[in-house]
Subunit: 359 residues, 2 copies
């Protein structure tokens, strides 16, 4: 079965196509902004999900305090489009990055994260080049074992180092607690805040992250802002995390069934170069609206292997199906543009302007 809209998209753009529903995008922006407002937590959405200045501006217009970027290349795209108050939630270091960070800082208010002294020793170069202060938050690990110092004592020591560095302004702490790691985060934060208080330092920013953590909004006493990314589109992982329903999923991959060589199997024209191999810990590689019992079992680069053994009704060659990806952020990063739909009608395309800005 192919919906009329899917048939139109296939005819006008071809498949696979990454399609966003702007009604749902705007509803997601409004709902999460309202959640943040109700919790008294500023919203600083992470643009890694959509990589679009236009969508970032919608988030800011809805009330977001600023934006979060993971890479300086993303921040450059956003600043060039007029966005300001940018948190780069990542350790930046090295001559090339400092040159760019200095130039970026001339055009926008920028805060960066740091979790070690090597990074903090590089950052004054950028501030010096820009001739204005660079904000720094200390990244704290609270269970995820990604970046971030492991103890409040280290966090306090780095806060002092920032405060003592020319051109740097200590801004506070950044965390990305595991979904069940909030009590641990509270303990960490309380100790770190007490520690910097002894030096007369204050944390203007205490930033938490993650769309799955929207259900924990307001739980960390002292938190000032949250950095949700995926909520603008949502995906199977957000549904599994309990923070979105299928009707909140604003992005779908439209893909054509190109082969049905066996009775219980088929091939989609979307493989690992479209949907990516990220499983997000889930079974199968996406949810197919037209065939909920079908499983995208595995991928070749341009083939999605359909297991249809549990389907009563099975798709035929030429059917265009709508797929909710497991992890939407990595799917968006595969394409140069997405097709925009509103009220069931195509309204044009939107460039994924910061796609591929991996450095």
């Amino acid at each position: 079965m192919t919906t009329p809209l899917a048939a139109t998209i296939a005819r006008e753009y071809g498949t696979p196509a990454v399609v966003i529903d702007m009604d749902r995008v705007e509803a997601n922006i409004a709902r999460v902004q309202a959640q943040c407002d109700a919790a008294g937590i500023a919203n600083r959405p992470h643009i890694k999900t959509h990589k679009s200045p236009e969508l970032a501006k919608l988030q800011v217009a809805a009330g977001a305090r600023g934006i979060t970027c993971q890479k300086i290349g993303e921040a450059e795209v956003m600043a060039a489009a007029g966005l300001d108050d940018i948190l780069i939630s990542y350790n930046l270091l090295g001559e090339e990055k400092m040159q760019r960070l200095g130039r970026l800082l001339q055009t926008a208010t920028v805060t960066v994260a740091a979790d070690n002294a090597t990074v903090i020793s590089d950052l004054p170069k950028a501030a010096g080049l820009a001739g204005r202060p660079l904000g720094v938050v200390i990244e704290c690990d609270t269970g995820r074992k990604r970046a971030g110092v492991e103890t409040p004592a280290e966090a306090v020591e780095l806060a002092r180092l920032v405060a003592a560095s020319p051109g740097l302004a200590f801004k506070g702490f950044m965390m990305y607690p595991a979904e069940d790691g909030w009590p641990e985060a509270q303990k960490f934060l309380d100790t770190a805040l007490a520690g910097i208080g002894l030096d007369g330092l204050e944390a203007e920013i205490v930033s938490t992250g993650g769309s799955p953590n929207l259900k924990n909004l307001g739980r960390l006493k002292g938190a000032t802002e949250h950095r949700p990314g995926t909520y603008i589109y949502n995906d199977r992982m957000q549904i599994a995390a309990g923070v979105a329903s299928l009707d909140d999923c604003a992005l779908m991959v439209y893909s054509t069934v190109v082969s049905r060589a066996g009775p219980e199997r088929g091939i989609l024209d979307a493989g690992s170069k479209t949907l990516t191999s990220d499983t997000g810990g889930l079974d199968g590689h996406g949810f197919i609206l037209e065939h909920p019992e079908a499983k995208i079992a595995r991928f070749a680069e341009e083939h999605g292997f359909l297991d249809l053994s549990k389907c009563n009704e099975r798709p035929k060659v030429g059917d265009v199906l709508r797929i909710v990806p497991n992890h939407v952020c990595v799917v968006v990063n595969m394409v140069d543009e997405v097709v925009m739909v509103r009220g069931g009608e195509i309204v044009g395309t939107l460039p994924v302007a910061a796609r591929g800005k991996l450095r």
Copy 2:
């Protein structure tokens, strides 16, 4: 430890950077072409790995018969750059694809694969638009359960259908045998050839695929050409398949250690948006030349999680490391350009012109 070249690349381009060694690229091209020549099998390299017309031209100049593309968008980029004799090894169907295929066929000799009657019923539209014949090979499944008819009888039936379709020229059979599936492929092919012989049809092309299958080159009696892709760069999967050594790996990701928050762990600035989540069935996500005992254990989008527990010498923050990816084809597809090195010196960048041509 950072090599002088890695330091220069980090300073001039920043990290993560995808870097190709042109000496190795040319050696790989020459070696596999010689293997094909020795086996009496034409080489039709798959450009999905490099997605660069410049590199495709090197392959043709070395003796390749033509090229293979997986997507019509890739073929369009190649044809526009002057490449000819293009096999699109994929089922194409639908109005949008037929319009584009018709235009493509006006500029280049094109053969497409088909494994079902729905696709074959669409293809005459493209041939009609172009006003010249479109070659068709029947895709046969020989164990991989991807695309391809499952029986010789179906292959013969589709060959007849192609031969009877206006504007289509039956060209032969296309296979992608599993590495241990060559006896099965031989049986399939012999039966299919006998079947079409009864109708007076001949298979001008019998095409096999896969760089890991280079070790089986010449094993299928009746094969006329092979479609290796990954051999131009190689990766951990090719080493595991026994068709390349570490010294044959022409592409590496240069990545900076940005965090060392624990004694046995670190973070690379290359995550799933650079190295991708494709494991290729291997343990860990890449081989680090400077730290062979280190394991890239998992990814966030922009974080590579280093497990350093088995390392005697451990990298420090700021070290730039060279990583051989598990699966190079999907890594190339993440970037708009690669940095070219020759004789240990940077010689410039090369656009990945057909990147993101997912349709």
